[in-house]
Symmetry: C2
Subunit: 302 residues, 2 copies
DNA sequence: GTTCCGCATGAATCGATAG
DNA sequence: ACTATCGATTCATGCGGAA
């Protein structure tokens, strides 16, 4: 190979499945995915496009899927669930709370709840509540120790840093020295020429919906942040409710392998046109693996 | 009376109770409070000052208190609970989720969950999580219809969407009008040329370090926002876990009657020195009402 | 009176060490 | 094994004193 680049480009694969989420999940190999990032249909929220799951049935519907996701995720992997409960009869529904409790019974660890603070949410007015400007990003893991690449998502520091960086070595050096006589070398190097800080568990992103064709698209920054944080190049990202394919497109751009599952042909076809063809693997119907429920066998692999 | 002012100043009363929260609550009359705003000791979090409740016992401990709060709140009143679960063994504790479910069984409606996005959160770095920059503000009500004075908490327009609205008026407006025949375009034009907007359910405030004497003071803006939103002058505000008395001090400043309950004499004494004396009513010990558990009877009422 | 700069300090959490 | 204590880590804010 006459590749002059110092680091060879990793060839990644994007695998798109047309079909029911659970049907496809059961066929994926266990311990094979590094990150699951998804935004499932909210209860009764998108009736027009998906079936619409009644709030009372939501946990019941989701648990078998959660079980399969647990199986396919690597022990060091992470599952991030973007969800928000809807208002029913003047009250917030409790199905998300119940879902967290139910998932813990399956063995999932509820590691953290991050907040997506939406910068520009839609204007509107109700007599008994204000505009909803946030959604949950529930982080689940199989084990207490998982892969996390915090340096990949650092953010610029506040303005105060400008003035502080000048004199910083004086005070911080002393403060660190006063406690222990040793180890200050490392501490100082942490702070010298520092212009970035680690982020918090609140993501302040715009509500930007580039994909007008899908009713529930999140901004690209959202999957991007989690893909950078929880995977490295060549890892595998899964979105079992692909929708307009934002997660998969970002995964491809960041050189991660990805798997997307979508039940509606319209979205499936739309996404497949937007993925680089030479990296695309399509499973438009029921056969790449052994299938029990179907006798059709016409997989299309490009 | 030779009061020349167009609106007479309402004389408000601040009632401070020294004692256990539950013991005092049972003596308060039913349907007498317009807003309960409080921040109870988080599980195991203020061990040094308060006892510290084990996460597993938290719901059990809180439920009797929630029951009494339900009794004393007016049908049109609101209960706002500021709380956040701690991390236990690498996982977020679930006692807050369980608390919400348990409170609904008592009859409370879980109307909304607002977010306090903390501008300056606690620093630190851990291998598996980022800094925690938000807390829950759980809104509970007795009935679907409650008092809410939204106009009192409007924010300057620039804070959220000047640019967004200009865009809306040109692109989204046209798109939405063509898509759905609804009158959304008209609604948007209502928002233009206005200098104030309704806020969202995310409050972006700093944590104040003003109150050196109490370990867990929230910023004054927090109770202020809810007092303005859910009460009017002359109404009654209750904080059953008074602490440094921020809620009561703000209530007094905003001309609301208020009741504060505190179990630690240090905080009780500190607060009582900071309240305008001519409006102060003290119940430093066990008698203003009938007491079953105590024989002491030395109430101090000024 | 302003503005600037230094400084202490938080509803924290992890991992290691000690009982 | 399981619990309690301790040191290390980190960043935005408001205060007070100085220019």
């Amino acid at each position: 190979m006459s590749d002059a680049r110092p680091y060879p480009t990793i060839q990644v694969k994007t695998e798109l499945h047309l079909g029911d989420c659970l049907d496809v999940l059961v066929q994926l190999p266990e311990n094979s995915v590094d990150l699951i990032f998804t935004s499932p249909p909210y209860a009764d929220q998108r009736k027009a496009t998906y079936g619409g799951i009644h709030p009372d049935k939501y946990v019941e519907w989701f648990i078998p899927i959660a079980k399969e996701m647990y199986r396919v995720l690597k022990p060091t992997g992470t599952f991030v669930l973007n969800i928000k409960e809807k208002v029913v009869d003047g009250e917030r529904s409790t199905y998300v709370l119940e879902l967290i409790l139910a998932m813990r019974k399956l063995g999932w660890l509820w590691t953290e709840e991050l907040i997506w603070h939406k910068k520009n949410c839609y204007p509107g007015k109700w007599p008994n509540r204000f505009r909803d400007a946030w959604e949950r990003l529930l982080q689940f893991n199989k084990h207490k120790h998982f892969n996390m690449y915090q340096d990949e998502v650092m953010v610029p520091m506040g303005d105060w840093a400008n003035s502080r960086l000048k004199k910083l070595s004086q005070t911080d050096l002393i403060r660190d020295n006063s406690k222990v006589g040793s180890g200050f070398g490392k501490n100082v190097s942490n702070w010298l020429n520092r212009d970035k800080a680690y982020p918090t568990n609140v993501l302040h992103l715009a509500t930007e919906c580039n994909n007008k064709n899908h009713s529930a698209a999140f901004p690209e920054e959202l999957p991007e942040w989690f893909i950078k944080l929880f995977t490295k190049e060549g890892d595998v990202v899964l979105d079992p409710f692909m929708g307009s394919g934002t997660t998969n497109k970002i995964a491809q751009r960041l050189r991660r392998n990805s798997i997307g599952i979508e039940i509606l042909p319209e979205y499936f076809d739309m996404v497949k046109r937007q993925i680089e063809p030479d990296q695309l693997f399509l499973f438009e119907s029921k056969t790449p693996y052994e299938r029990s429920k179907s006798e059709k066998a016409n997989a299309t692999v490009r």
